[in-house]
């Protein structure tokens, strides 16, 4: 048993990745995951949920085993945190059910965590940031977020599809396997030509669906795939960086945090760090393991909430597939 520090178990399962972790404020003590791989293309909510319910027992066993080899037993936990939304309803319900059962068995509080807020919190925690502008880019979300008076406010977001979704759709169309983002990145690297593609920014909002269509058309018209991949990335990421910079200017903040699955893209990292360098802002992104969906981010956020006296009574623990980032009361920033 580790004395003194609080320990929280977090379970993430909003989409294809099922993951659990035990953390303290000092770091991750144990983690385990199981990923649902769709047979073809996109995610099928019911099949993903079936995957989660078939595997959650095994994932929890593994995380508890690793934890106990580190000297942490289930009864040492202070709370169980789970991703309450946003996400796919059937997946969310599977995870919530397990979390409720654990909280009851162990007699410890339950904490419902907003998945998007968890991406931000694990980033702030891992990068040591206080009050950043957050660019949150994943398969399901593309938002520019910053804290103001008790909430994370959305300053800008996609008007149609997310960047991850746009990349995956394009990748699938040109015959690349899921997930397409990393493959597009690889193909773009050696390419040198730029094919003009639509650049659509509306204030701090942006749109990717026209870009995805134009990229397909360019490919169909015979442009080399590498060039189209490069142009897709350069155009889409320029839009995101521009909007990020506009948010920094508008909010008068000086830290920029990149989170979500697409944060693994090296070119996007490079562009954001150049922008921040020129502005005198600090740029950072969490380690890869904290960037994609993971249990540790839920656990860390749960821990922060617990330290601030926030827990979720069972009656209030219903999942919320449309849980908005700005619905969460944030009491731990100022």
């Amino acid at each position: 048993m580790k004395s003194g520090e609080k320990l929280v178990l977090g379970i993430e399962g909003t989409a294809w990745n099922l993951s659990a972790a035990v953390v303290s404020m000092k770091g991750v003590i144990a983690e385990a995951e199981s990923t649902y791989t769709p047979p073809s293309g996109g995610i099928h909510p019911r099949e993903a949920a079936q995957h989660h319910s078939a595997n959650i027992g095994e994932v929890l066993d593994r995380v508890f085993n690793t934890a106990s080899s580190e000297g942490v037993l289930p009864e040492d936990l202070s709370a169980v945190a789970f991703s309450q939304g946003p996400g796919l309803g059937p997946c969310l319900r599977t995870v919530a059910t397990s979390a409720r059962a654990l909280s009851l068995t162990l007699g410890i509080p339950l904490i419902g965590v907003n998945h998007c807020v968890a991406h931000i919190e694990v980033g702030r925690w891992n990068c040591g940031m206080r009050d950043p502008v957050v660019l949150y880019v994943s398969g399901a979300n593309s938002q520019v977020i910053a804290y103001r008076r008790g909430r994370y406010r959305v300053f800008g977001e996609t008007l149609d599809i997310s960047i991850g979704n746009a990349l995956d759709k394009f990748a699938r169309y040109v015959g690349l396997q899921h997930p397409g983002g990393p493959k597009v990145e690889k193909l773009a690297e050696p390419a040198e030509e730029y094919v003009p593609l639509p650049y659509v920014v509306k204030g701090m909002d942006f749109s990717f669906s026209g870009l995805a269509t134009a990229a397909r058309d360019a490919f169909d018209a015979g442009a080399p795939l590498g060039n189209v991949c490069r142009s897709f990335q350069e155009t889409a990421f320029s839009m995101l960086v521009e909007v990020g910079e506009r948010a920094l200017a508008h909010c008068g903040k000086s830290e920029m945090l990149l989170v979500g699955g697409v944060a693994a893209n090296r070119r996007l990292n490079e562009m954001l760090s150049l922008m921040c360098e020129d502005r005198g802002a600090r740029f950072d992104t969490p380690e890869d393991r904290f960037v994609r969906d993971n249990g540790a981010m839920i656990a860390i956020t749960g821990l922060i909430m617990l330290e601030n006296g926030i827990t979720t009574p069972v009656e209030a623990s219903a999942v919320n597939p449309n849980y908005r980032t700005d619905e969460v009361e944030v009491t731990w920033i100022d």
Binding site: A146, F155, Y194, D205, S238, E242, M275, P321
Partner: protein, 217 residues
């Protein structure tokens, strides 16, 4: 494009480096997202500086198009009665304009002002223009009490309900994220906007629809 010489005033260009100055010294530099704006006592010089993060092809295209667009639409908006700075000189990446003395609406927004913003945006839309970046950082309440619109780099000519809806949506999002009293502010905006434009309700309904898009699927 011809230089937009709508007004003349005491500004000087140093032929050796192409930089502008007035008889008086620079007061301060405002830094937006895209541009560096040097503020002199009577003029503002907005320069779209190169961005290292984006490809040359994108960067040059962007900065030229936006500078040109901004000058064009800022003048057109003024022609139909919307207070905007008078443009004094223009080159590929630089706009020299009158300085507006006042405060950003971001720092002094009220429901009364928001109602007047509604009327101004209505007028702009009726005139066939979309601002493209309607935020309270891009409006100035001048010392003579008028609301000036600035920052027209993302503007374009269009009369579609969708474009107008997105324009209003961008503003509402800023009201929600940056200010308190979102409901009152948007209601005030609508009150000012409705009487100006025949299809105002279509635009406002579309705005609500747009708000629901882009959410988690």
């Amino acid at each position: 494009m011809d230089r937009l010489n709508e007004c003349d005033g005491p500004i000087y260009m140093n032929p050796s480096d192409g930089k502008y100055s007035t008889s008086r010294d620079i007061l301060f530099v405002a830094r937006g997202a895209e541009a560096v704006v040097e503020i002199f006592s009577d003029i503002a010089v907005k320069t779209r500086i190169p961005k290292r993060y984006r490809l040359k092809e994108i960067d040059t295209r962007m900065r030229k198009n936006r500078t040109f667009t901004e000058a064009r639409i800022m003048s057109e908006a003024r022609r139909i009665g919307i207070p905007t700075p008078i443009i004094k000189d223009l080159s590929d990446y630089v706009i020299v304009m009158n300085r507006v003395h006042g405060r950003l609406l971001k720092d002094c927004i009220t429901t009364e002002l928001c109602e007047r913003v509604g009327a101004l945006v209505g007028l702009l839309h009726k005139g066939g223009m979309i601002h493209g970046d309607l935020t309270t950082s891009n409006m100035i309440l001048s010392e003579d009490g008028r609301i000036y619109m600035i920052d027209f780099g993302l503007s374009f000519f269009d009369t579609e309900i969708e474009s107008r809806g997105v324009d209003v949506h961008v503003l509402f999002q800023t009201l929600k994220s940056t200010h308190d009293g979102y409901e009152d502010l948007t209601e005030a905006f609508k009150k000012g906007y409705r009487p100006i434009l025949d299809c105002a309700d279509d635009v406002l309904n579309r705005e609500r629809e747009i708000e629901k898009r882009g959410r988690y699927l």
